[in-house]
Subunit: 67 residues, 6 copies
């Protein structure tokens, strides 16, 4: 009965990639802890890069500096 929340930056993640994350996490919980996939929830939050901070600045700014 696990609940998993994945937060990633909003960067054009495709439906196919989301499906792979959901499948992968669910399988992992089944393999490691024998959890039932039927009651395993996975929620993906895509966060705007203006709303995610790392190293004290927005990802939108941080990435430009790294270029």
């Amino acid at each position: 009965m696990p609940y998993v929340n994945i937060k990633i930056t909003k960067d054009g993640v495709t439906t196919q990639q989301k499906a792979e994350l959901i499948k992968g996490v669910t399988t992992l919980l089944q393999k490691v802890l024998n959890k039932n996939p039927a009651t395993t929830f996975v929620i993906i939050d895509e966060v705007d890069i203006d709303n995610w901070g790392i190293a004290g600045e927005q990802v939108s700014v941080h990435r430009n500096k790294s270029k």
Copy 2:
């Protein structure tokens, strides 16, 4: 001073239904634990059905299979 987060799939939930959820949860916490409604927060997150997984697949896929 409770904080409640309700995550549901984004399925055209109306403003009226959201109001009922907020009212209902706040009243419940007052009744069961004598919590003060004035400092009871309820946050509703509506999650895209491509971003919610159950049984190892996206709700968008899972529902189609159930039809």
Copy 3:
């Protein structure tokens, strides 16, 4: 398939009270949005009053001032 997280202060909430919260929230979601109880999750977090802040101070301090 809703997911609900209730955060309250750790104040000797009884097992019976937790059961009432879980039952109440699940019934509310069924009534308002026709959600299936079988896949409704409710998680209660009890938070130490040193770790919960309101009005810029810990609940442990805030309560003493209110006495």
Copy 4:
């Protein structure tokens, strides 16, 4: 390696204000707990005022009553 999640109502918060929140929280964690900014995450969620409840009603309703 802290993770901070700030939830606020969606009220036209500017990019500059978000940057100040991220900078401020990261600096605070460095000052108080000596946490490394390079691995400090801050995620800001802007919540629709129909989806945030206080005092048993939506913020959208609550504010109108206060006028």
Copy 5:
């Protein structure tokens, strides 16, 4: 720079199993989305079975009924 939160019931999960979950999720995010493991956070919450509800009742009660 993903953040992943895994909530599971507190059932004697071992340190080794936690390590496998952390490794597995981090590898999955690297494989599917090319995310950098160095800034991938995984937080595991173990929830008391009195505090987790499913089907309108506590897991502690729900499991006994299933026996």
Copy 6:
């Protein structure tokens, strides 16, 4: 009416340090967004270092390697 959740590793954070975090975040939200401290919640979660992963391994392991 902001809600802030701070997750840090469980490393003997003192009550005084928690008070400083709560005070600091609340003041920041008042300064940047004019938020009312009376309805600003701050919740601090202290996470066991076996339950926090970075770079694909537990913090408990990661720190030993860094020594």
